[in-house]
Amino acid sequence: MITVRCFATVREILGYAMRELPPSHEPQLASDILTVIAGERAADLPKPLLVAINCEHASLTSPVKDGDEIAFFPPVSGG
């Protein structure tokens, strides 16, 4: 399974903080996961939209495989 996590405005717009997706048999990119989870609401999501895979910053073109945790969130403001 692939674990999807959403934070801040992404969580508010999509309406959940976490879900699991079965992996595809084809190679998948982060953008493919986003299409599955956001569908038509992709246009409502914050831009730029940040991506992390397994707790490291990544991008929409990063590959995602079975067992990965992928997260979507708006730009951060730590400190």
Binding site: F7, C55, F73, P75, G79
Partner: protein, 142 residues
């Protein structure tokens, strides 16, 4: 290196003393506090959301990178999350090094990286409503 994520407040000096770093001629600390006004709104509460597993990993990467780049002898990062009031402390970054220039550069590098790379999101709650604080996107994540 000490990384702590917590909801409770902290005493910057006691935390630094507890590390008891020897041989460091210079110690530089940054304490960030919740602003109590934004534009004309009075901020009652700041809600800080974060991504716990990634926050810990990212702060460790940020601290290690600064430690190597600026020859820091020790690094302490404490970041709060949850609900905070105006003027409360949010974050402490303290670094130790042999020389002052390295300590200033290393501390500032960590604080700058926190702003743009550490997965925290802030919502300011004022009498007029709640507003997400705009985040920062570093060049390499655009």
């Amino acid at each position: 290196m000490i990384i702590r994520l917590q909801t409770s407040d902290f005493d910057p000096e006691r935390e630094a003393q507890a590390l008891d770093v020897k041989g460091a001629g210079a110690r530089v600390s940054f304490v960030g506090t919740v602003r109590d006004r934004a534009q004309d709104r009075r901020i009652e509460t700041l809600e800080i959301e974060h991504y716990p597993e990634m926050t810990r990993a990212e702060l460790t990467r940020i601290g290690s990178a600064a430690q190597t780049a600026h020859h820091l002898l020790e690094v302490l990062i404490i970041h709060r999350y949850g609900r905070l009031q105006g003027n409360e402390r949010i974050v402490l970054v303290t670094v130790w090094s042999a020389h002052r220039a390295e300590a200033f550069a290393g501390c500032q590098a960590i604080v700058d990286a926190l702003k743009t790379r550490a997965p925290f999101w802030k919502k300011e709650i004022s009498p007029e409503g709640a507003v997400w604080v705009p985040g920062h996107t570093p060049q390499d994540l655009r």
